[in-house]
């Protein structure tokens, strides 16, 4: 940073921004992070409500959903579509990538803000516009998009196939804008982390969550381009009468599937990696140990990111593509378990001979780990092409990806929120309520999704609104009802978090700088950090996980702490 820029930054530091600049059109990365978080949590409520309505309909078909009414089959298809769209693009990405990435990257690397603060603001407002358009699409005549979150043409390509007109057009527009927003965000993440690191903050002293956010941003940027083009072609098919995906005009329905999944599968890792990053910060702090195998975890992350580009067609084993293609994709898919196994083993090894405290963030981190292991292992079944012949498009798949994504988005998200809440809002969350929230969530989550595997193996297809219309599914109905009751309890359990969140925001114990005795730079500044974060740019001397390294009384060593114990000499 040149002198003039530094002087300018110092000047800006003293200027008090007005209400609009401070709260609405803010360029401060922490404020923008909170904006993303608020919008993401709002959508999470909407996504949860769609789940509630679907589950009610599945358990008690054609009865009135309490608080809503009857659900017609085409409305059910809209619920299915919106649940996936909302949870993946409007909850997981804004919370895991945008909110945590924005909040943590500058603070953790010792920067005053993102590299492009105005672009950052633009990213958020484009995302807000996408949200508004998606919300509008729910209320237009003809109803919301109903072709599934994957939007396979020809169903999605011609309005007469679904009866949905503007709902689906707006859905496509909302997605395209959402992608544009995260592309800008990704550019910002990368530029910031490469150029604005504090002196001494080498790449191999970066906290792992920064590595994970960066890898996710790169994966996203490299994979989303084809899909933006694909979405525009689909929109053109719908409104301009082109036939990119319509065989009667020489188009090819499978083209969309390839474009969609070339993005869609890397997207899974765009969500998963930041989730892993969050708990990789939390596990060492509450084990008072360095993370085991710091560098191999980074290499594994990069390998997993690269492999994620050559697994997409495992969604298409039965799509009609050449069956000879199945085996290469099956092999890459199953082999991607190796880098993830390394990360999981490293987390487990970090616990070994630690000094473990069961705080709420740590409980949620362990919830993430144990739930993800289950989801990762069931992925092997789906990745095996012959087994997929049977379980493809059944509830086994639904159960599998909820084990992987719910763990990353909700368990890891709650771990991150409860851990950084003091830094974000300057107050501590209530531990008793936090633990209650964890145990209720953990128990009811498994009560929902373990039986769902069995329902899937019984043959129940995804995206049907009434299993009782199928003779062979009727014996599964008690299980479906059990799942629904557990799902409602799972949703209700989240009220504990809502209460804890707002109560702590107002009445929580005032947080000190470093309540968890952690090493990374965000804990060296006040809670919440002031505008521009650091009074003086910190100098970094150590890696992020020097816990229990010396003989000193304290068992942690902040990254910007000058003292050099024996362990510091290693790096």
């Amino acid at each position: 940073m040149s002198d003039s820029v530094a002087a300018h930054a110092a000047e800006a530091h003293h200027a008090e921004p007005g209400f609009w600049r401070a709260y609405i059109f803010s360029t401060d990365h922490k404020r923008i992070a909170k904006q993303y978080l608020s919008l993401g949590l709002f959508w999470a409520i909407a996504g949860g409500l769609t789940a509630y309505m679907m589950r009610w309909q599945l358990a008690y078909p054609d009865t009135e959903v309490p608080g809503w009414g009857f659900i017609a089959p085409d409305f059910y298809n809209m619920l299915v579509t919106m649940h996936g769209t909302i949870m993946v693009f409007f909850v997981a990405m804004p919370i895991l990538l945008a909110a945590f990435g924005n909040f943590l990257i500058p603070l953790m690397i010792g920067a005053r803000d993102m590299a492009f603060p105005r672009l950052n603001m633009l990213s958020f407002w484009v995302f807000a516009l996408a949200s508004l358009i998606l919300l509008t699409s729910l209320f237009v005549p003809g109803g919301a998009a109903s072709a599934g979150w994957t939007g396979y043409p020809p169903l999605s390509a011609k309005p007469e196939y679904t009866g949905v007109t503007w709902g689906l057009n707006l859905w496509l527009l909302a997605l395209a804008l959402e992608f544009a927003s995260f592309l800008m965000g990704g550019v910002n993440f990368l530029t910031t982390a490469i150029n604005l690191r504090a002196p001494g903050m080498t790449f191999f002293r970066l906290p792992l969550v920064v590595w994970m956010e960066l890898t996710a941003a790169v994966i996203f940027m490299l994979s989303v381009g084809p899909l933006i083009a694909g979405a525009l072609m689909l929109l053109a098919d719908r409104v301009l009468g082109t036939t990119f995906y319509l065989p009667e005009g020489g188009g090819e329905p499978l083209l969309w599937q390839h474009l969609f999944w070339f993005f869609g599968h890397p997207e899974v890792y765009v969500i998963l990696l930041p989730g892993f990053g969050l708990i990789l910060e939390i596990i060492p702090v509450f084990s008072r140990k360095p993370i085991f195998a710091y560098r191999p975890i980074i290499y594994s992350t990069i390998v997993a990111g690269a492999l994620s580009f050559v697994v997409w067609a495992h969604h298409q084993f039965l799509s009609g593509m050449d069956p000879r293609l199945a085996m290469p994709f099956s092999i890459t898919t199953i082999i991607i378990s190796v880098p993830f196994a390394l990360i999981v083993f490293a987390m487990i090894a970090t616990l070994w001979r630690g000094s473990i405290t069961f705080s709420t963030p740590m409980l949620f981190a362990m919830g993430t780990l144990s739930v993800f292991i289950f989801g990762g292992l069931t992925g092997i079944f789906n990745g095996s092409a012959p087994v997929d012949i049977y379980i493809h498009d059944t509830y086994f798949i639904v159960a599998h990806f909820h084990y992987t994504l719910f763990s990353a988005v909700f368990f890891a998200g709650f771990a991150g929120l409860t851990y950084w809440f003091p830094k974000m809002f300057g107050r501590m969350m209530n531990e008793q309520l936090g633990k209650l929230h964890f145990w209720l969530t953990f128990v009811f989550f498994n009560a929902v999704f373990i039986p769902m595997h069995v329902v899937g193996l019984g043959g129940m297809m995804r995206r049907i609104s009434d299993p009782t219309q199928y003779e062979f599914l009727r014996p599964l109905q008690p299980l479906n009802q059990f799942i629904t009751v557990a799902a409602i309890l799972l949703l209700l359990s989240q009220l504990v978090f809502v209460v804890n969140f707002f109560w702590s925001l107002i009445c929580g114990k005032v947080a000190e700088r470093n309540p968890w005795q952690a090493n990374t730079l965000e804990w060296s500044v006040p809670s919440p950090p002031p505008h521009e974060n650091f009074h003086a740019v910190p100098v970094v001397y150590h890696g992020p996980y020097e816990y229990s390294s010396g003989d000193a009384v304290v068992d942690w060593l902040p990254q910007d702490h000058g003292a050099a114990p024996k362990a510091a000499a290693r790096s």
Binding site: S287, R288, K289, P290, V344, G354, L457
Partner: protein
Amino acid sequence: MAEIISGWFPENVSSFGGEIDALFRLILYVTGAWFILTEGLILFFLLRYRRREGRRAAYVAGDNLRQLAWILVPCLIVLLLDLWLDFRGAEVWAKIKGQVPPSDFHVQVTGKQFNWEILYPGPDKEFGTADDVLMENELHVPAGQVVRVILKSKDVIHSFFLPNLRLKQDAVPGRAITAWFNATKPGKYPLPCAELCGFGHTGMNGWLFAHSPEDYEQWVKQQWPSPQPSPSGRGRG
């Protein structure tokens, strides 16, 4: 154990279904072992190394090969097991989807919103002739024979799903995709659509009737036009 697992599935009446189920069980045993091992270790470490007064955590960074071996060797085992499952899978896949075995029973199934149109070639065993027989949602086949299904679609993507035959294959407009099965036991089996195909997707359900040879003869006699010596013969279109 195997009995509990097969209790989760609908009855298998497919010539190749047993191999899919066996592969499923194999993967279940392998992943089940990892599940118990990893979750067990997590639980054990959490209890064994929970915070106690006066005990410090050990500084183990896993930054040398001696320590890293503890996770690299398990990763290597994961890789080998992966490859094993891949190659077992490749064999089964080649058998089912690799090539269609010879068959003299052909039937064309066309998905349309929201029915299966089943077209039988009729006595001359050729499609597109006057003696073709068209039925909705009823697929009649002889049990114990390889049935070759030509899958088409008139509108959107559907998925031809026979849970008891362990067979699923998408039907894509603009394509004719070949699938096959061999029902080992006569009976009536569900034939739902497994791909979201519009507001009537739920309830798009046909039936597979696998007949014993005598019943099948009987059915042909009743439903198909009688064979004609010349191709100009009458028949249902």
